[in-house]
Symmetry: C2
Subunit: 307 residues, 2 copies
């Protein structure tokens, strides 16, 4: 299959390289790593086994052209430029998979390209970029897929593609539910890690006050999700999130890593859009809205945008 990876950060490179190693014809749109990958290919240092891929890297989407599948793995902070980067790779039957965080991305893609061929992917993975051309895959890696219009058969087709490349995959019957369910973890843990002074998930778990804030944020997220066509069962889901997080130790969510590297945070897709959707649905989310205002300010302060 001819595949384009738009946004070749750690996640895009890791999964694109796995598909390339499995025999697919994968084309990577890159900025920072372009020269290094053209010369030396992609080196994946992975907990599932290291490997090297002589990858095809491009500076312009036009040079890739139409493909069968576009995997968009841009940070959501770059959503404004996504349409222009994706469009040259879209043919009449091209599938578009958003391997991105938070809420509202697939809906934007549908505005630009129609809803029929839009898929969402949720990557449960800990990975980061090293030297140009090198990606470090530290742990986890499971993928969950869904279709914007919840077409299960077509979602299975996407999942099979990644499963055949040796990845652990599953199919979600509802994209909106899969997105909100991931937010039930991301909204408390990714954002408190920043607003509580740049700390890991262990600090949140061990402090009674922060743990209670995490619980309140989960309960609000579940209420907003359920008003938005989900059927999330609050108590068992909260328990599951706490139990999973307890096994993670000193885990740094990607938002914390971005913060420590003074990169722009995915505040809008992880907090802003959920808060706006809750408001539109008349669900009170005071803790989530407060996190949104604090995290948004801290993000701009951290990047030197506030004098």
């Amino acid at each position: 299959m001819r595949i384009a990876v738009i946004g070749s950060g750690a996640v895009g490179c890791l999964y694109g390289a796995r598909l390339g190693r499995a025999g697919h014809d994968v084309h990577f749109l890159m900025r920072r790593d372009l020269d290094a990958v053209r010369r030396h290919g992609l080196m994946i240092h992975s907990c599932d086994g290291d490997f090297h891929l002589p990858a095809k890297a491009y500076a312009r989407s036009e040079d890739i052209g139409p493909v069968d599948l576009v995997i968009c793995a841009l940070k959501t902070t770059n959503l404004d430029v996504a349409e222009a980067l994706i469009r040259p790779c879209m043919g009449p039957t091209t599938n578009l998979l958003a391997l991105m965080n938070g809420l509202g991305v697939e809906e934007r893609f549908a505005e630009w390209f129609g809803a029929a061929n839009i898929f969402g992917g949720l990557a449960f993975v800990c990975s980061n970029r090293g030297e140009p051309g090198h990606v470090h895959h530290l742990s986890y890696g499971r993928l969950v897929f869904a279709h914007l219009l919840d077409d299960l058969d077509r979602t299975r087709g996407i999942a099979d593609l990644f499963a055949a490349a040796g990845l652990t995959t599953s199919v979600a019957p509802s994209l909106v539910q899969a997105r909100w369910e991931k937010l039930v973890w991301n909204i408390p843990f990714s954002t408190l890690a920043v607003t509580a002074g740049a700390v890991t998930t262990r600090h949140i778990m061990e402090d009674d006050g922060l743990r209670e804030l995490a619980r309140l944020l989960m309960v609000e997220t579940i209420a907003a999700g359920n008003a938005n066509r989900c059927t999330l069962d609050a108590e068992p889901l909260v328990e599951k999130m706490f139990a999973n997080t307890a096994t993670m130790g000193d885990y740094k969510p990607s938002m914390l890593i971005d913060y420590q590297c003074k990169r722009e945070l995915e505040v809008e897709s992880i907090l802003g859009e959920p808060v706006r959707r809750a408001a539109a649905l008349n669900v009170a989310v005071p803790h989530m809205a407060m996190q949104y205002r604090l995290a948004s300010f801290l993000d701009r302060l951290n990047r030197g945008l506030i004098q």
Copy 2:
């Protein structure tokens, strides 16, 4: 009048020295500055005019003994040791004035010494300590007094004492209302200055999100105060607080200065006690409670108490 100042930080030294200069017999209980003040007296660098006072300084309250008026200007973080420090200076008719921040201090004093002679003082002042024996009084300085049982005549007596020393004073008809009204400023501005990343009041005023959080915190504080015997008129009070703060420029609340100096924050008297009182009165204060949990954690993280 024979006066003891218990807790000779910037506020205790500044007001004690003004009373000493006015002819009163003032005795200062000190730790850090004891040797310097015994040798060289107190030097007050004040926006109202510099002056020097050959002050009487003590390491133990027992060496001061009973006085007519005790001014307790300890930080509320030292409330646990206040009883032992104050008691040697208390005679049968001694008045005790709490020149301290936040809620609940006078009530603790009443448990120890009876309610009849307990007064509260609210200092609207910007001051800090310099080298040992030196105090810098940068701006403001107004004092508001009240009696724990709201005895207006006796409150006027305390206010007259300070007014005769050249200070701007006023008498509040209700101590609980005066305390809550000051919290309507302190809860948003002192605590957001810390949780929003160590910023000044100007940053809070200029950011739409933080300003809205400040407003929500004021509204909750007013609701809790009104459930606690106050008659605070929300809209004009919020407007007045914003208007006053707009004139302050890059003002650093004392809680922010404490935070930057890695000293313990007055979280319990400024947030903890108001949150507990609101809960006891069944007033919902989600933003205030969230600030409490975040500020409490940041305080301990900042002082190296969290691993």
